[in-house]
């Protein structure tokens, strides 16, 4: 099926759906205006956000008001302007904030794994990363970029972008072109390290599909876990390798012959790509004579 035909079909369906005459009723009048009388800047910033749209148009179980998050004695707050009469989520403990957010978001699929996730048990709350009233574009992040957000705690991973090889590709303006969320779901996942796939390898195959196989000649450690050999964030070695070659290969292949030839620095086993000078198809070969991954 031609690719472009599928794309055009989907776009055509989109246009129809997008233009569907189903304008919902705006609920912006009322409480929001009352709050906006004092908190004008906040409400104006808030209105075009996803939460603002929810407050304006959603009905039924998804209906949202200022009091949904800022619970308390709103009437007294209006009369006295005393901040203590309503909840200020920014001053709450992370788990309290999460409880409030999960009131609505608990049934989001990407939030399904939040409870019991590494970030939750580490005491991270929603407002550690997100901003409700003044978010940056997309995902309501508090900081401008994901790298800034995640790097504020994961310093070692952030520093990996300055290593010899890295996945955190930066352009000439310093913008990172592969984001943390390209591989991780910070809200929890079904795999280790919050990987947003069934396994580390399945995540890697989502970009490196050519390594998925199955191959005629399989390399078992490769099939089990890419991280057996690679450091995905960055490495001092080329191609994100966890160790320098040939030592990486010799971690298993210490069975004499040329695999463990000690060798001077300038021998073919040590220069350029070392073992991969000959065993280039180390991720798997489909050649009847490729049992040693060399063609």
């Amino acid at each position: 099926m031609p690719t472009y035909s599928v794309a055009v079909f989907l776009l055509a369906v989109s246009v129809i759906a997008f233009g569907a005459d189903s304008k919902p009723e705006s609920h912006w009048e009322g409480e929001a205006t009352v709050c906006g009388a004092c908190h004008e800047a906040i409400t104006k910033q808030f209105r075009p956000t996803a939460h603002g749209k929810t407050m304006e148009f959603a009905a039924g179980p998804h209906a949202l008001t200022c009091g949904t998050c800022h619970a308390g004695d709103l009437q007294k707050h209006i009369e006295t302007a005393d901040p203590a009469t309503v909840v200020n989520q920014a001053k709450q403990k992370p788990e309290v904030v999460a409880e409030s957010c999960l009131t609505c978001h608990v049934t989001d699929k990407h939030m399904m794994m939040w409870r019991g996730s590494q970030h939750e048990s580490a005491g991270i709350g929603c407002l550690s990363c997100h901003s409700m009233h003044k978010p940056s574009e997309g995902k309501m992040m508090a900081r401008k970029t994901q790298t800034e957000t995640c790097g504020s705690c994961h310093a070692s991973e952030r520093n990996a972008m300055l290593k010899r090889s890295t996945h955190l590709f930066r352009d000439e303006r310093g913008s990172v072109r592969i984001q943390c969320a390209s591989c991780h779901n910070p809200h929890g996942s079904q795999a280790e390290k919050l990987i947003s796939a069934n396994s580390v390898n399945e995540k890697c195959y989502s970009c490196h599909q050519e390594k998925r196989g199955p191959f005629l000649w399989e390399h078992s450690p490769v099939r089990e876990n890419c991280i057996n050999c690679h450091s995905p964030h960055g490495s001092n070695n080329e191609r994100l390798l966890a160790m320098r070659r040939p030592q990486l290969c010799q971690s298993c292949h210490a069975q004499q012959r040329h695999q463990t030839m000690v060798g001077r620095p300038n021998v073919m086993f040590n220069i350029n790509r070392s073992c991969s000078n000959c065993h280039a198809l180390i991720h798997g070969s489909n050649h009847p004579s490729g049992a040693n991954f060399n063609q």
């Binding site: 001092n236 463990t260 021998v267």
Partner: protein, 793 residues
């Protein structure tokens, strides 16, 4: 690419024509007046209501150095005029419709465009286009030319002259030929377009459809090596008529999926399908051997000493005398995955969730023949097919018909029986079954088109390993129980017990179990202070090591299967004595110790430290950070003719890398101007120490004696200066400057030349006939300056 660009522009134009932002504009202006002075060229966080931004300018780039690719490793940096940014946002108060488009590096091959149209509560569509460029190397030279995709040739006259050259004349002839050849640049490009649509069929029922098409083009480096062996009194030496050339990456991937989710009041459930089809438009890679015009096989055993390896057929000397070689490339493959998930939640912050996923991966690309070297034949006395080895009819089957099935099951139960205690139970099972039928080959063409062998070439004493494919499967189960307790208001203690079990088929260890205890404590007495420390202890215990009759010596333990003791520790602090000032630091330690009575990896340790400080005033902010990562890994290897006794040697590597960044941002001229300066540095060092454990006899000096290795060092610096000034109501003028010096001392690259002649071979065994492209990384100095005008309206 142009079609996609035009599509986005057309969408934007249509949306712009329907724009009704009149009500929003005055509010936006009012808000802008209240904004603090802009401290950075990029916009501050905040969702814009409506408007457009266009950034145009020009850029100049100079890169000095022999190999300059590093500066543009991940980006096709443009020279000259650019349309760098185009943003269009349409949101109207009171309307559920919105449209946004964000584009950077427009009209460039690695541009990025994201468009989003939404009818709130009903429908959402996201369109993305992303381009990634990857420069692998430049200024390399090769006598090979790619005459069609995946076919590399060398002039017949040159091959004849190199084949017939004397040993003394060969280096000069080959070097001259390389110097006269054209330069090669190896670079690849990935372009991906994605459409994601979400339909809210009902408030609680959501349907998502997604479609992705990816195209990969260009090349990446690949090596093909083999060797010629010469027996010597003090060990064997090798010649290596290998090649480094460029593999075409003419790949395509189509992915599609659908997901249906239902959210109830206290539960949710969903089902999802995802398909991925990968195509490699280059069936194989064929290259001619620059050193050979006449195909020949390895020297048969009757005229040379019978080698200790290589099977009964021998072929120990003068390997690699093929005139042409055909290699396989990644085959087409398909993957289909179905996932079902459900979750229910109860009182006391309790939930149970489950996710099960089934996958099916297939691959059935036609095999290539055993060899395209007509000189390789089945020798008398050897088992083998009756058809010529160059014929597909000689193969036992035409293709693999490879099938793998995967299953992932993840189940979580979490509850907070009373406020200070949270308990989480988790069970995960990942199973990969390789259901491909084992293939038995009567033999193989060994060591790159050199000779027919009935067996794997392998470890001394194990010469007769049959040519059967290895069909390996595994099942990994992990169960954990975690308790989080708050004994005090500001104190959190966390303890986890985890058990992991691997069950493998076809590998040396079939069952292994790992028990782990992990604990941490964090203390946050005030919002300005956070302290945390943790420790983990993991004990992996494999079942008996099974001698599968393969190549491996029983003294070896694959590090991913062997006994392992892992200890991990971490500490973290963050202090903010004043709201404007934050100081933080972290430390992480990991130590893996393997069974030292065996060969292979013995120890792997890492330490990382970081310290960060930031200071934020109204119109000025400053940040600085430092990190140090230290990795060490110790191996024990063995050389010699047979085990035991081995000739053991230890090889230890100690890597260290300092990274630091410092910068400040500020504003001037009452907020009209802004500036940002940053400096980042990465300094790495790797020291490799090799020592002999056992005395080396004279007859093994060449292969077994330890030599010192040079220290590997790299230095990366990056200076950035960005400034911009509001020259008009809607116009901002900006300037970007980048200076990037990079230095690398790595003997693995420094000793690589397109054709080294005998300069290297005179020392020990050699790379004298290895044709490297010589495109590896080296020093460079990059400069980039750009001036732009940003129009906002």
């Amino acid at each position: 690419m142009k079609r996609i660009t035009l599509m986005f522009v057309a969408l934007a134009a249509v949306a712009f024509a329907q724009n009704k932002p009149a009500a929003a504009k005055p509010e936006q202006k009012k808000e802008e007046k209240k904004k603090e002075p802009v401290a950075e060229p990029e916009p501050e966080p905040g969702v814009e209501v409506a408007g457009a931004t266009v950034e145009v300018g020009a850029e100049a780039v100079t890169v000095q150095g022999e190999k300059t690719f590093g500066f543009q490793q991940y980006r096709d940096v443009p020279h000259g005029a650019f349309l760098r940014r185009f943003d269009y946002i349409l949101r109207t108060d009171g309307s559920p419709l919105s449209f946004t488009i964000h584009a950077v590096d427009l009209m460039q091959a690695d541009m990025r465009v994201h468009a989003d149209g939404e009818n709130f509560g009903k429908f959402d569509i996201k369109l993305d286009f992303e381009g990634f460029s990857r420069v692998w190397g430049n200024h390399g030279r090769s006598v090979l030319s790619e005459v069609q995709r995946g076919v590399f040739t060398v002039p017949f006259g040159l091959r004849t002259s190199l084949e017939n050259a004397t040993d003394a004349a060969l280096p000069g002839l080959a070097t001259d030929a390389v110097n006269a050849s054209s330069q090669v640049e190896v670079r690849s490009m990935r372009q991906r377009g994605t459409i994601t649509q979400t339909y809210n069929l009902k408030p609680s029922l959501t349907l998502r459809l997604d479609f992705m098409q990816e195209r990969r083009s260009g090349n990446r480096p690949i090596n093909f090596g083999t060797f010629i062996r010469h027996g010597q009194a003090n060990g064997d030496t090798f010649e290596t008529p290998g090649q480094e050339l460029w593999e075409p990456t003419a790949f395509g991937t189509t992915e599609f999926g659908a997901a249906l989710n239902y959210a109830g009041k206290h539960w949710m459930a969903g089902v999802e399908y995802h398909g991925s089809l990968f195509y490699n438009h280059t069936a194989s890679l064929i290259y001619q051997n620059p050193f050979r015009a006449t195909p020949a096989s390895a020297t048969p055993p009757s005229t040379n000493p019978q080698p200790t390896t290589g099977g009964a057929s021998g072929g120990g000397s003068f390997r690699g005398r093929f005139a042409e070689l055909q290699s396989s490339l990644p085959p087409d493959n398909q993957a289909h995955t179905i996932t079902a998930n459900a979750m229910a939640f109860f009182s006391h912050a309790s939930k149970i969730s489950g996710l099960v996923s089934w996958g099916r991966w297939t691959q059935n690309q036609a095999f290539l023949p055993y060899t395209d070297n007509p000189a390789v034949v089945v020798n008398p006395g050897q088992a083998g097919p009756s058809a010529p080895l160059t014929s597909l009819a000689a193969l036992p089957q035409p293709s693999l018909n490879g099938i793998m099935h995967t299953f992932n099951g993840d189940f979580v139960a979490s509850t907070r029986p009373f406020r200070p205690v949270q308990l989480t139970f988790r069970y995960n099972d990942y199973d990969l079954d390789n259901d491909t039928q084992q293939v038995h080959f009567p033999g193989t063409v060994a060591v790159l088109n050199s000779f027919w062998s009935n067996f794997h070439t392998g470890t001394p004493g194990r010469p007769n390993v049959p040519m059967d494919t290895w069909v390996n499967s595994f099942d990994r189960q992990r169960v954990s129980l975690e308790a989080t307790v708050k004994p005090l208001k500001d104190l959190i203690w966390k303890g986890t017990y985890q058990h992991e079990r691997w069950d493998r088929t076809g590998r040396q260890v079939d069952v292994e179990n790992e028990n782990a205890a992990i604990t941490s404590v964090s203390y946050a007495p005030r919002s300005a202070i956070f302290l945390e420390a943790g420790f983990g202890y993991y004990d992996r215990d494999p079942n008996l090591y099974l001698d599968r009759g393969g190549l491996e010596n029983v003294l070896i333990r694959m590090f991913d299967q062997s006994q392992r003791l892992r200890k991990q520790g971490n500490a973290l602090f963050s202090v903010s004595p004043r709201p404007q000032f934050i100081l933080s630091g972290s430390w992480f330690y990991s130590s893996d110790t393997f069974d030292k009575s065996l060969l292979g990896l013995h120890e792997m340790k890492s330490n990382s430290f970081s310290a960060d400080a930031s200071f934020n005033l109204e119109r000025f902010s400053f940040y600085a950070g430092w990190g140090y990562d230290r990795n060490g890994y110790d191996n024990m290897g063995a050389t010699g003719a047979a085990l035991p006794p081995p000739l053991r040697f230890s090889r230890d590597t100690r890597e260290g890398i300092h990274t630091a960044h410092v910068g400040f941002t500020g504003g001037y001229a009452h907020g009209k101007g802004s500036y940002q300066f940053s400096y980042a540095v990465g300094l790495s060092r790797a020291a490799i120490t090799t020592t002999n454990v056992d005395p080396v006899p004279l007859t093994s000096q060449l292969n077994s004696e330890a030599f010192p290795f040079p220290t590997v060092k790299s230095q990366f610096h990056e200076f950035r200066l960005d400034t911009s000034y509001q020259v008009g109501k809607k116009v901002r003028l900006g300037l970007n400057y980048l200076l990037e010096p990079y230095r690398l001392n790595d003997f693995a690259n420094d000793l690589t030349q397109p054709y080294a002649g005998n300069a290297v071979s005179a020392i020990q065994n050699d790379a004298s006939r290895y044709y490297f492209l010589d495109i590896g990384p080296t020093n460079y100095l990059g400069n980039m300056v750009a001036a732009y005008l940003r129009f906002s309206f």
